[in-house]
């Protein structure tokens, strides 16, 4: 039995687009030192807002724009809690997921059962949003590693006390990173409603936000790593479904565990390298998950 690798690959890059967007956004937030577990809530918000806009205007691209805005807006709840009121990030993120799922379900009622306008396909019969996701990878890499703003952002994430001492505004930087994360998650969610399903239904992100969180860890907090992670996580699903379709019996549950175990392995390796050798970099941001409060 033969499986054409190219067809699997093409399938893979569109299937992994939602998690790629969400994970890239979370990557930027985490590099700024913010652990936002509300990805699922922001994705579903984007899925609804984007669908509603695409349906109302008939323009899918406008839908994605609105989805990005909606994701950014709802992420400000998290930013307010963690940056202004210094609430715990883990708890605030979980609360955001709960709130987002409820809010989207509540406002989604009028959009049930209607269909989104068709997505125009781009080059190689792959739609433009998939291309945008792929282009975002080098852009975010360049931003983080080659730009001054990226340097500040990483500094804030690595050691917020030092960044503050150097005169950088930790909270503002983090708020911007959270907003960017929200916008990207919103686009990722909207990809599911506008491009994959073409309809709105409650709970349609079905846990994609949580996979995105795993991907960021797998990526070792780098943009190319996120792409690799999205393809690995998406790839395992695509591959097992593809094998099933070809009539091969696969242990689905065991196979779907594999990427998470791989993520833990990657995390252990990079942590061990950081711990036992002097080479810095490549690990989790030093201030990840901790809030900053300026005493001066």
């Amino acid at each position: 039995m033969m499986i054409d690798p190219l067809s699997v690959f093409l399938l893979l890059i569109s299937a992994s687009t939602p998690i790629l967007f969400a994970a890239l956004g979370e990557l930027v937030a985490e590099r700024a030192g913010v652990l936002n577990l509300g990805v699922e809530g922001m994705m579903i918000t984007g899925a609804l807002a984007g669908f509603a806009a695409a349906y109302a205007t008939g323009n899918p691209f406008l839908g994605f724009l609105v989805a990005a805005l909606a994701g950014a807006v709802i992420s400000m709840l998290f930013a307010g809690l963690t940056q202004l009121f210094l609430a715990n990030q883990v708890a605030s993120g979980l609360a955001l997921t709960l709130f987002g799922l409820g809010l989207a379900a509540m406002f989604g009622k009028p959009f049930e059962g209607v269909k989104a306008p068709p997505m125009p396909t781009g080059p190689l019969r792959i739609n433009w949003i998939v291309w945008l996701g792929l282009i975002m990878v080098p852009l975010i890499w360049a931003f983080l590693n080659r730009s001054r703003a990226g340097l500040i952002l990483r500094g804030v994430g690595e050691n917020h006390e030092a960044a503050h001492a150097l005169g950088y505004n930790v909270r503002l930087t983090r708020t911007a990173a959270i907003a960017f994360g929200g916008a990207m998650a919103g686009v990722g969610g909207a990809y599911i409603s506008i491009a994959t399903v073409l309809q709105w239904t409650e709970g349609m992100t079905a846990g994609a936000g949580w996979i995105a969180l795993a991907i960021v860890v797998f990526s070792k907090w780098t943009a190319p790593g996120v792409l690799a992670g999205a393809w690995l996580f998406g790839g395992v699903t695509v591959l097992q479904l593809r094998l099933q379709a070809a009539g091969v019996a696969v242990p689905v549950q065991l196979l779907s565990m594999a990427p998470y175990l791989a993520t833990i392995l990657v995390l252990v390796i990079i942590s061990a390298r950081q711990k036992y050798s002097r080479r810095a970099g490549g690990g989790s941001p030093g201030s990840l998950g901790t809030n900053f409060h300026a005493l001066r």
């Binding site: 652990l35 577990l37 709840l77 307010g80 809690l81 009121f85 210094l86 609430a87 715990n88 883990v90 708890a91 605030s92 979980l94 609360a95 955001l96 709960l98 709130f99 987002g100 799922l101 409820g102 809010l103 379900a105 509540m106 009622k109 409650e202 949580w210 969180l213 795993a214 860890v217 242990p251 549950q253 065991l254 779907s256 565990m257 998470y260 175990l261 993520t263 833990i264 995390l267 252990v268 942590s271 061990a272 950081q274 711990k275 989790s284 990840l288 998950g289 409060h293 005493l295």
Partner: protein, 358 residues
């Protein structure tokens, strides 16, 4: 310009006042939300907060509060200890699932044996399963410095898939007509975790939750380890000089919170849930994190927070039932409550000052 000044110790007055303020704020904004949605706000809020306690069917719903709150309190008690020490176990959901699986595995392996020691053995297996699943992030952190936040979270996903695998494969009920899911432990007398006193809702998990609150209180306020934990959380460097071993503390906190989460899973699968299914994890492990924070990481606070959250769940169901309020609206309302509670917490930890212009 407003300035936040950290308090040396959390303010006692505010610790009591802020949850009340948060609930009031939720009632006001939530009431507004209900009014906009076209529901009577007063009736809705009464249904959610009052009726489960004192409404017409309160004699049923009051014990249900205990059943719903018990796993939350049990898990959150363990988590809070780690959180105090700056050790972030956010994978309690996974430890809960594995505890339920290992506990249920004992019963399913010995079925249909009836013996008094079966249930205690299951509890031990549940504790051990949760402990072991919690020790994975502990050891990976101690040996390699891997973040326990991320490892424990990843292990939740793994545990969920293990549960699905078990429900469809090894633990599937041979008499279940081909449907996934194990035998129902409620119908296996020696393995069941029944209501202890009829009408109270109290099963062994409720007893365990009460014990956990007491034990963690004693631990944190009276025991030297509790002192170490608090020291490690507030001044890690000083704690190290005082001879507190960080690796022991990591193993202790993750092991303990894992074991408690595992026990919660076992009590649930042998009692209210009854079966191993692929939907074994219903989010108690994540909700417990919120409960721990709402309870200000204090055993008594956790007890109250667990009950408050259980109240909104049960009241939310009642509101669906009696007022046809959609489940989503209730979920939004719960989200608001959490936001307010988390936000107002700032007042307990900080003093608010007006910044004087220079």
């Amino acid at each position: 310009m407003i300035l936040l000044v950290p308090r040396q110790t959390a303010s006692n007055g505010w610790q009591i006042a802020t949850p009340v303020m948060a609930v009031l704020a939720t009632m006001v904004t939530g009431g507004l939300l209900f009014a906009i949605m076209g529901y009577d706000p007063v009736a809705a809020i009464r249904t959610i907060f009052w009726d489960p306690l004192f409404g017409p069917a309160a004699s049923y719903s009051r014990p249900q509060l205990l059943i719903k709150a018990a796993p939350l309190i049990l898990i959150a008690s363990g988590l809070a200890i780690g959180f105090r020490a700056g050790i972030w176990n956010i994978g309690a959901e996974g430890q809960y699932i594995i505890g339920a699986l290992t506990g249920a595995a004992v019963a399913l392996a010995l079925y249909p044996l009836e013996a008094w020691w079966l249930f205690p053995l299951m509890v031990l297996a549940g504790l051990a399963g949760g402990w072991a699943w919690g020790m994975i992030p502990a050891m990976l952190r101690n040996w390699f410095g891997a973040s326990e936040i991320l490892v424990s979270l990843m292990l939740v996903y793994v545990a969920q898939r293990v549960a699905a695998w078990m429900a469809f494969g090894p633990m599937r009920n041979p008499e279940g007509m081909g449907f996934p899911g194990s035998r129902n432990l409620q119908q296996y007398p020696s393995a069941a975790n029944p209501e202890l006193i009829a009408g109270t809702g109290a099963h062994w998990g409720v007893v365990a939750a009460a014990l956990a609150v007491l034990a963690t209180w004693v631990l944190m306020s009276r025991h030297i380890r509790g002192f170490h934990i608090r020291a490690a959380g507030t001044a890690p460097r000083a704690a190290r000089f005082a001879g507190v071993s960080p690796t022991t503390l990591v193993a202790f906190c993750l092991g303990l919170s894992g074991a408690l989460a595992g026990a919660a899973g076992l009590f649930e699968v042998a009692g209210p849930a009854g079966q191993v299914t692929d939907k074994l994890g219903t989010g108690y492990g994540f909700t417990a994190i919120i409960v721990a924070f709402l309870g200000r990481l204090h055993p008594v606070g956790i007890l109250l927070a667990g009950l408050l959250l259980a109240l909104t769940y049960i009241g939310g169901e009642l509101a669906q039932l009696t007022m046809s309020l959609p489940a989503a609206t209730v979920q939004v309302f719960q989200g608001m409550l959490l936001f307010f509670l988390l936000g107002f917490d700032v007042l307990t930890r900080f003093r608010i000052r007006r910044r004087l212009r220079a």
